[in-house]
Amino acid sequence: MTQEQVAAPPRLVEQPGPGNTVRLRHPGRLIVALLCIAGISWFVWVLATNDHIIWGNVLYYLTFPKILDGVLVTIQLSILATIMGLAIGVALAMMKLSANPVAVWISNLYIWFFRGTPVLVQLIFWFNLAFLFPQLVIKIPLTNIGYMWDTNVVMTGFTAAMLGLGLNLGAYAAETVRAGIQAVDPGQAEAAASIGMTPFKRMWVVVLPQATRIIIPPIGNEFISMLKTTSLVYVVAGNDLMTNASQIYKQNGKIMELLIVASIWYMAMTVIATYFQGKLEKKFGTADRPITGKRQRFSNPFFSRDNLAVLGQRLRTEPPRSTP
């Protein structure tokens, strides 16, 4: 008798489908979107037609040799300072996680000091190191064997900039790396120990590679931030993009044009760095993680072609985020 019930034809139920459903309209959303576009258009128009900005000059200085030199120095400086900061960060993180209380204390002191003082102050400090130590000496104690340099010769704007930015980033990177190491399941180190790895090997072969995956996004962020922090270097004349731009506008008074030129280059560098950050994340991220859905080409969602394509569709039909 139950079989008869199963075999009975399904009752016809009128249900919502593509043919008989009236989609909810969102006229308010369209109005807000139009207002925003109008506002932005007005701003662009005011800027573009401003008599005080000569756009020809912007174009001219965009590829001016001194500006291009500055771009190169900015890139060099950002890369070198980030590498230095990362190396210091890894060392400090190890110290902070070590069993030696003096190492922990020194690491904490370093992090406290370099996060507690503005990077601008640190830059000026390094540049003026000659006031403290007119000569830098490396020698074997109690002998005359060694080297001596004039501090002012060694401490160029570039060296001061690299030291200042690198040492400063080191303090921030230390916390990132420490968090990354601590985020790796302790069972991983235990398993490594159980097959006879020494503490160093456990860290190097098993823990750090996994911590790397965790710390790449924040370190990538630090690098992108560093690209623009280098502009502070202009106070110590580090020959970076901002230094060179400011030297030009101090001579010819075209402040706005050169600031726009510098901004365009900073933005271009950021876009490229963002692209490589995405690549790096993909390289380190997919192997040992389940891939959820399709990965986007750029980590910045604005650049995703799919996103732009569905924007119009969303504006019209997407239900509100909160439950109605």
């Binding site: 069972g187 120990a193 159980s194 020494t198 996994q210």
Partner: protein, 268 residues
């Protein structure tokens, strides 16, 4: 194999020592006493099972055997050598990290939560120990790893990362990883407790084949059936001491202590 534990505590030099010998091992975490004097021994080739309620200290004891935990008191010897100390001229000299690493070459361990290296494929997990610790050539290590994966029934899965394997497969890779070091004794810390029920058997099968092959094993488990069928001895640990130990079939059929009876009545 019935075992007598406490009588082996004397340390005559020419007396036969069991492969694993633990005497009066104590361990506490803060104020919480986990082990209150455990005596335990395992002969070469023996499969020794340990059961007990959760929190009884059985896992902690197992972790003491390869020094993942340092006991607060007592003495553990494996193959006649003290664990954690070098005994010279009446003094116990504490080990450095290299000496701990050397011990663990001999003592394999399989964890409840597998703990496969997430940054390596299954094959690399197995080859890692021989290549990176023992210094074997990479080619040889990988070739042996292939063999071991085949032995645990995972031929063709070597290229997969742990995340892509089921729990049972992961645990079998973990067993192969431990086997790759050619340990004298293998410790199993509840190896099937984190598995879905339908995956338990495939892991137990691998362990059974190891036991048949003569591997010395110390196994903390809740699989009473496995203990009865495969183990040479069964110990019931509760409150940080070995309450009762003996032949598995006899102990399960006819437990002597009230606490053992209570525990078995709940799990059987």
């Amino acid at each position: 194999m019935t075992s007598t534990t406490t009588s082996l505590a004397q340390t005559g030099t020419d007396r036969h020592l069991p492969l694993v010998l633990a005497e009066q091992v104590t361990k506490s975490f803060g104020n919480h006493q986990v082990l209150s004097g455990i005596d335990f021994s395992v002969e070469t080739g023996e499969v020794a099972c340990i059961i007990g309620p959760s929190g009884s200290g059985k896992s902690t004891f197992l972790r003491c055997l390869n020094a993942l935990e340092k006991p607060n008191g007592g003495r553990i010897r494996i193959d006649g050598e003290d664990v954690g100390f070098n005994y010279r001229k009446g003094k116990f000299h504490e080990w450095n990290s290299a000496e701990y690493a050397k011990l663990r070459l001999n003592v394999g361990m399989v964890f409840q939560r597998f703990n496969l290296f997430a940054n390596m494929t299954a094959l690399e997990n197995v080859a890692c120990g021989p290549a990176r610790v023992k210094g074997e050539s990479k080619k040889l290590a990988l070739a042996r790893a292939e063999e071991l994966l085949e032995r645990v029934g995972l031929a063709g899965h070597g290229h997969k990362y742990p995340m892509k394997l089921s729990g049972g497969q992961q645990q079998r890779v973990a067993i192969a990883r431990s086997l790759a070091m050619d340990p004298q004794v293998m410790l199993f810390d509840e190896p099937t407790s984190a598995l879905d029920p339908e995956l338990v058997d495939e892991v137990l099968e691998v362990m059974k084949s190891l036991a048949v092959g003569g591997m010395t094993m110390v196994l903390v488990t809740h699989e009473i059936g496995f203990a009865r069928e495969v183990a040479d001895s069964l110990a019931f640990i509760d409150g940080g001491v070995v309450v009762e130990r003996g032949n598995p079939r006899e102990l399960i059929a006819n437990p002597q202590h009230e606490r053992t009876q209570q525990f078995l009545s709940k799990v059987l």
